[in-house]
Assembly symmetry: C2
Homo-oligomer: 364 residues x 2
Amino acid sequence: MRVQTTMLDEWGKLLITGWNKAGWMAKSTQLGDRIAGLVGAPDGSVIVGDTLTIKVYQALSAALEMRPERRVILSDNGNFPTDLYMAQGLIGTLDKGYSLKVVAPEDVAGAIDETVAVVMLTEVDYQSARKHDMAALTAAAHAAGALTVWDLAHSAGALPVDLTGTGADFAVGCTYKYLNGGPGAPAFIYVTPHLQNAVRPALSGWLGHEAPFAFDLDYRPDTGINRMRIGTPPVLAMAALEAALDIWEGVDMAELRSESIALSELFIGLVDRRCPTVTLASPRNPATRGAHVALRHPEGYAIMQALIARDVIGDFRAPDVMRFGFTPMYLEPNNIHHAVDVLAEILDNRLWDRPEYRKKAAVT
Amino acid sequence: MRVQTTMLDEWGKLLITGWNKAGWMAKSTQLGDRIAGLVGAPDGSVIVGDTLTIKVYQALSAALEMRPERRVILSDNGNFPTDLYMAQGLIGTLDKGYSLKVVAPEDVAGAIDETVAVVMLTEVDYQSARKHDMAALTAAAHAAGALTVWDLAHSAGALPVDLTGTGADFAVGCTYKYLNGGPGAPAFIYVTPHLQNAVRPALSGWLGHEAPFAFDLDYRPDTGINRMRIGTPPVLAMAALEAALDIWEGVDMAELRSESIALSELFIGLVDRRCPTVTLASPRNPATRGAHVALRHPEGYAIMQALIARDVIGDFRAPDVMRFGFTPMYLEPNNIHHAVDVLAEILDNRLWDRPEYRKKAAVT
């Protein structure tokens, strides 16, 4: 409905005057402030726009320039590939001897030394749901003089995040997973307040300018988080996101987290008993696990297709991982029992072994 | 309706399976091919996504790397500021002695020499509608060994563009002006086929990867225009754009151009006679003018507010320019007569001189 209002009443009637009259231009910061409330950040520290991939580039390039004497970006092999790719692309652009050092997740802490400019990590692993200790790793980075870029793609709306408390420098995230902004919904970026005005935006678009509508020929960054704006904001997508964020008003993230853990513990317990041919690919300790659970099976792809055909919708990540999300806002214990019933039936009777389930789609 | 279908039937029912089942992942290239048809480009040379600002950065960084021995980006002071800002941001990132040389539009041809790596221009000036000769300037650039980046923001859907015929190397554009994609609709980028596989993407996001869903740790660009994809595509915005592009099926751009010129000539003629206090800020020769007409008046801001209050909707560009678009798909001579009637009445009776029209909004 919000999208329809935006299209028919605002776009349809106001045309370009909607930028003022319908408040389109202010949405990036308004939605940013609402997301800030969900990730432990103050007003004025988060802004919405672009894709997570672009926001990674913004954060990483800004952070690197703040540590000009250092040449190492440290990340781990559990990071989502686009984060690593953007680091590689940026390094190629800079062409100054930078390197991306990718270690195993458990080796990150030990690899932080005084050559590291930036520690760039995804808090919750997109496959296994293994959860990094953001506070400890941020403290370790700071102790070595490095900055941090945290990717919250599988954290925001999934579990409590305390950007202020952990001292994170930069963070980025998407809104199309747990925040339900819709397919391809815009991303967000956080910059800790004391660093905001030290950022030189590499992607210095007109909407990050101090006076975008003065149409000066020279770029002058706006103050604060606004300088992380780039181009014209996606109004329709922001309308969908705005409606999606309404349901988060008044949600207690600690309570949501404990319900989410209860659901995932129930799921893991049932799978342990009833599905002996799958293995758990997520940490057993819920304190070090995000809000999804990954199971491994050599026929994971076909099994997931068989599940989807029965309206149990998770997703598959090559080569053999099935992911299941646990969002207490939409799921209750009955759904978990049902999902495991269906999974057990598929496994026990090899119902996945049908050509239509084994045929891979272009996108999995 | 297309957006509603995408939201309710696709997103609402298919959830993440919509990426395959509803063909979301293929939209960026499908819509690119449709836009290609409107700008004289072959299939497989245009892709949709992100904002025009980001696409400028992609094109410019790729072009600069193709001329590694040169250090000058040549542009003009009629270029839209975000293009200049992105060049400045990129130069700051590269930090290798690059410079952005900004000359007057009429001096561009004479400034192209063998120090120039890239000539970056907007074909139709966003303010005055002055139109560059894309073919001649591209030929001059190539003769000097430089590449071209053309911004088609005020060209695509406004007048015939022949990217293939002019030999343009890179082009970018937005879809929210003449293509009616909606506020903040996604942008597009063109790369001439013979250069596509030579591009090193600076913004090397996962969807430009050869195999995004293999989740490799190292970036390998896809072949062709696909490597200009960056992050997850904006599905809802693409649904709106898809519907908007339907109306362009079968449109003859040459015919549209001659109707657009007829409307703008009518407008200029009527304004000349009836509105002596405004001056024409666009070229008089329609062959060197885009599809909008700019008028200048010291009280342009208040006059535009008075026009908008009377449902004659143009826009204002500081310090004193009023812009009026001429799209034959929506306008006919009657509308032009009416618009000039209203404008003349406002000017003759100083109806603009009211506090509510003079109060500037944040966005103008």
